[in-house]
């Protein structure tokens, strides 16, 4: 005891346990930082990767001079490195499903198989039997795949549904513009958000920066945020005011506000003065006369009528409309949640009409079309007779024909293929998406998939779709490949981000773009000649040259947002090297309110009454009733409220399940990361069971107490859940978080909770046909 032996030995043994050789210790080394594009939900933002010894990625952080996110990152992007290094989840080489199991094969064999299958369809004269589903953010890959399918000869090129689908249609119909829809959030002083998840991830990272701005009273004073939504979300709780309305009635609220503004003459067209069509009476491009939007709104959407539809009191509507119109730069935001769900076309039209009435269109602090970055235009495609014949077929999903205004309807595709006696598709290619889990009705998609003989996945991960595929051609991870991104939805000026590989490939993977380019060349003829680029990098250099030629815009450099002048650029090579180092090109001179936009709609003006609807319907020879439109006459071409029929007998299924989107749960190409699973509260996931939120009134009726197990059942499926009583859930509805119920990936996410999309009934949006799943009839039974 009096000697040092016991004390020293105890201490030393403790320290010895720190140095056991079998405890993994990453080797130390020198730090370096490289910029690249964000991995998943980022939509065209840049990330900075911290590397050790230039060969091991440690963390990701935002690039603080990127004008989109200014260094902010979403939880899924911050976790990107976890996905890169997760050996259990990454596809490590090309795989083919043969004799009951996946077998690793060489790239030669894999691309050979891919090419031969594609060739076979062409040789038999039916290239339209190949279909492709992708889920990338807007950028070169999206365009490249579309171009490939067109040159190949298949019209069946689909994207995962999102709110940008609706915005694209609004841009076409009301604004007569191309590009993206931008919202100048930080300069507005009164925002009415129709369900948009401002704090859940709606829009780009910029939304959160704007929110921060609103809360700090600048020279503009404080910005008022009003959230119009069915259930209490984080955004509803943090908004200055939460207007609770019946699910699916956002459009009616907007029209009620429009009514008050028109009736009390509170509107001011602003930049649209003299440039608006269809507000008063007139004649459309088909020669039909109409009395106009003002008349429609006055007649049909008096506050009392709207109160009946929405559950929002007439006084509230009047008061809100007056405050909104009197603000200096009011702005209304259409959408729902994070924007993964398409919005109803007429609902969005209502909100955009509301914006137009208060002069928010093309005004600082308002809304307007944002031109695409001036990348080099794609060269003309060559189409041989096989391709032309293939493209003449109507799309299986009916977009462009049966549904003249939509461009992609994955849900309809699944329904048609699932319902056909023989599948019209022989090959399905999947890129950067996981429809087996995320399709609006995953059950429908999987039924369709089971009828397709050959499914190819380009995914880097063993997601549900890839586990069920026939051939896997794994893409490099985001740290190993080239990627670019054009303006994300909502950003009020054009942007372009470019990122290059930061590490050499860890596994036997290949860049999908390179595979597509090789495939095009192997198919020969007109397909090959339409893809003259040698590699993805080559292609991107070609595209970026267009921006350099245009000589407009700036590139962010370190410190550029802290007051130091952002850089211009001289040649294409100069621009290329700046972009690959720092990442972001942007053009603030084209910001909403600064840019002069022309409206290329048939009237040459902003259209409250959409000539293209009238024209499109006539050209397709379609009766709007066939497209579930409940009104007739001029209202078909203007914003109005369409009650959406939610499938199911309300007596058997008395509750309405509203899917909930959360900031810390991700649903997309990949699921929530292991890091994200650590921040989930017990009111979301308890053990492995999903917790749903119900109103105490409903709980009382069903004899359910806090934390009780229950079974939630819809027409499509059921799930075992626990209940959490929450007053913020509208009585009669049930709030169920999306993003759970995975059967792929690894133990961090697999078998946790239940998949809402397995249970959803999908309604078809009137006129556009887009999938709407904001409500599913369910019943809840105590276990």
């Amino acid at each position: 005891m009096l000697s040092p032996i016991p004390w020293k030995l105890t201490d030393d043994v403790a320290i010895w346990t720190q140095n056991w050789p079998w405890v993994p210790n990453p080797p130390n080394g020198a730090n370096s930082f490289k910029n690249t594009i964000s991995p998943f939900g980022g939509d065209g933002i840049g990330v900075s990767v911290r590397l050790i010894d230039d060969k091991r990625a440690v963390t990701l952080s935002g690039v603080s001079d990127n004008p989109i996110n200014q260094g902010g990152m979403s939880p899924i992007d911050l976790s990107g490195v976890q996905y890169h290094y997760n050996q259990a989840v990454r596809v490590q080489s090309p795989m083919v499903f043969r004799n009951g199991a996946f077998r690793a094969i060489s790239w030669e064999e894999a691309t050979g198989l891919f090419i031969s299958k594609l060739k076979a369809l062409r040789d038999q004269g039916t290239p339209e039997k190949a279909a492709l589903v992708e889920g990338s953010a807007p950028g070169t890959m999206k365009d490249l795949l579309g171009r490939f399918m067109a040159c190949y000869g298949s019209p069946n090129y689909m994207s995962m549904p999102s709110a940008s689908d609706t915005e694209a249609q609004i841009l076409n119909l009301m604004y007569g513009a191309s590009g993206t829809m931008g919202y100048d959030l930080e300069n507005s002083d009164f925002i009415i958000s129709f369900g948009c998840g401002i704090l859940e991830g709606w829009g780009s990272q910029r939304t959160l920066l704007a929110y921060k701005d609103w809360r700090q009273e600048g020279s503009r004073g404080k910005t008022t945020l009003v959230q119009v939504a069915a259930n209490a979300s984080a955004t509803s709780s943090k908004a200055d005011e939460w207007v609770a309305m019946a699910p699916g009635t956002e459009g009616a609220v907007a029209l009620g506000l429009a009514h008050v503004i028109v009736k009390e003459n509170l509107g001011n067209l602003g930049a649209l003065t003299g440039r608006a069509f269809g507000l008063g009476s007139g004649v459309d491009s088909e020669g039909m006369s109409f009395s106009g939007f003002r008349n429609l709104v006055l007649k049909e959407y008096a506050p009392d009528t709207v109160a009946q539809i929405t559950g929002v009191s007439a006084e509230k509507i009047q008061d809100l409309a007056r405050r909104f119109a009197k603000a200096k730069s009011p702005l209304a935001l259409p959408g729902r949640g994070k924007g993964t769900m398409p919005g109803g076309l007429y609902d969005f039209m209502a909100v955009h009409s509301l914006n137009a009435l208060v002069g928010a269109v093309n005004r600082t602090g308002g809304v307007g079309p944002v031109m695409n970055p001036p990348l080099t235009p794609w060269p003309e495609t060559a189409l041989d007779s096989v391709a032309e014949k293939g493209l003449q077929n109507a799309r299986i999903d009916g977009a462009g024909s049966r549904y003249p205004f939509s461009s992609s309807l994955l849900q309809r595709f699944a329904e048609v293929v699932a319902g056909a006696p023989k599948s019209p598709v022989e090959m399905l290619i999947v890129y950067k998406s996981n429809p087996a889990h995320n399709a609006p009705s995953s059950k429908e998609f999987n039924r369709a998939r089971s009828k397709v003989p050959f499914v190819v996945s380009f995914s880097s991960f063993w997601d549900e779709t890839t586990k069920d595929a026939n051939l896997v051609l794994p893409n490099h991870s985001f740290l190993e490949r080239w990627e670019d991104g054009t303006t994300p939805t909502g950003v009020p000026f054009p942007t372009y981000v470019l990122g290059g590989p930061v590490l050499s490939p860890m596994f036997d993977t290949r860049s999908t773009a390179d595979v597509i380019l090789e495939t095009a060349k192997a198919l020969g003829g007109s397909v090959a000649s339409s893809f003259p680029w040698k590699s993805h990098e080559d292609l991107l250099k070609f595209r970026v040259a267009g921006i350099a030629e245009n000589q407009r815009g700036l590139v962010s450099v370190p410190g550029s947002l802290a007051g130091q002048e952002p850089k211009g650029f001289s040649s294409a090579a100069d621009l290329w090297s700046i972009l690959t180092e720092n990442g972001c090109w942007y053009d603030p001179s084209q910001k909403i309110g600064k840019a002069t936009t022309s409206f290329n709609a048939p009237s040459g003006k902003f259209e409250f009454y959409c000539n293209r609807i009238a024209g499109g319907l006539r050209q397709a020879g379609l009766d709007p009733k066939r497209l579930n439109v409940s009104v007739e006459g001029e209202a078909v071409c203007m914003a109005h409220f369409e009650p959406v029929e939610v499938e199911g007998d309300p007596n058997r299924y008395p509750l309405l399940m509203v899917p909930e989107e959360l900031a810390y749960v991700f649903e997309g190409e990949v699921p929530s990361s292991p890091y994200m699973t650590k921040i989930w509260p017990d009111t979301l996931l308890k053990g492995k069971t999903l917790v749903i939120q119900i109103n105490p009134e409903d709980a009382h009726r069903l004899h359910l107490y806090e934390g009780d197990p229950a079974v939630i059942e819809s027409l499509k499926g059921s799930a075992e859940v626990l209940v959490h009583l929450f007053n913020g859930v509208r009585p009669g509805t049930v709030s169920m978080a999306e993003g759970f119920g995975h059967t792929g990936f690894d133990a961090y996410i697999r078998d946790k909770g239940a998949n809402t999309r397995d249970m959803t009934t999908v309604a078809s949006d009137p006129l556009s046909g887009m999938p709407l799943w904001w409500g599913t009839r369910v019943k809840l039974t105590k276990v």
Binding site: L2, S3, P4, I5, K8, L9, D12, V13, I15, W16, Q18, N19, N25, A30, N31, S32, F33
Partner: protein, 195 residues
């Protein structure tokens, strides 16, 4: 009779006790340290005196022990630093010749010299030189012994159980860092050093 026996017993017992005590103290304080520590030599006989400001090379300490551009501290410099001068033989010492022979090969293979680090801390410890030298403006010798005038590296006395050098015991254990932080009012929370 019993008393006599008791006397003898207690005297012998007392002797045994003291003898045993002295023996154990000897084992504990002399033999145990000898057994616990072993002395190892550095791979090369590096002389700070020769390389330092008063020596033949006339380098400043910070020429080799410097901060990198990003603010992290280099610590012991990489082989490339040595090769900046020692591509060719600079002097006539035996030690340098020995070094030079091996160094050329190591540089080609991309290897580093396996210096034994006196101040090595466990992986769980985060230490920032920038915070202590640039912000707190401490001298190097506040924590490290002054080796400027030493012709050979100090002996590396290694604890056989933990693998760390004995020099850490007196100056750089957690309690030493904590004491200094407390004295100077620096933050002593866990997460300051254990991230």
């Amino acid at each position: 009779m019993a008393k006599q026996q008791a006397d003898t017993y207690s005297r012998a017992g007392w002797l045994y006790f003291v003898g045993g005590l002295v023996l154990m103290l000897f084992v504990g304080w002399v033999l145990f340290p000898k057994a616990l520590y072993c002395t190892r030599t550095q791979p090369f006989e590096f002389s700070h005196a020769t390389h330092g400001p008063q020596g033949a090379a006339g380098n400043e300490c910070t020429d080799c022990h410097a901060f990198r551009e990003d603010g992290s501290y280099q610590g012991i410099p990489p082989l490339s630093k040595c090769m900046e001068c020692h591509e060719e033989l600079m002097g006539e010492s035996e030690a340098e010749r020995e070094f030079h022979e091996k160094a050329i090969e190591m540089a080609e293979n991309g290897e580093q010299v396996r210096w034994l680090i006196y101040s090595k801390q466990p992986v769980c410890v985060y230490f920032s030189h920038a915070a202590h030298i640039k912000m707190a403006e401490l001298e190097c010798t506040s924590c490290h012994p002054d080796v400027t005038n030493q012709m050979a590296p100090p002996p590396y006395v290694q604890n056989r159980i933990t693998g760390y050098s004995k020099d850490v015991w007196d100056r750089m254990k957690m309690s030493d860092c904590g004491d200094c932080h407390e004295k100077h009012g620096a933050n002593n929370a866990c997460f300051v050093c254990h991230k």
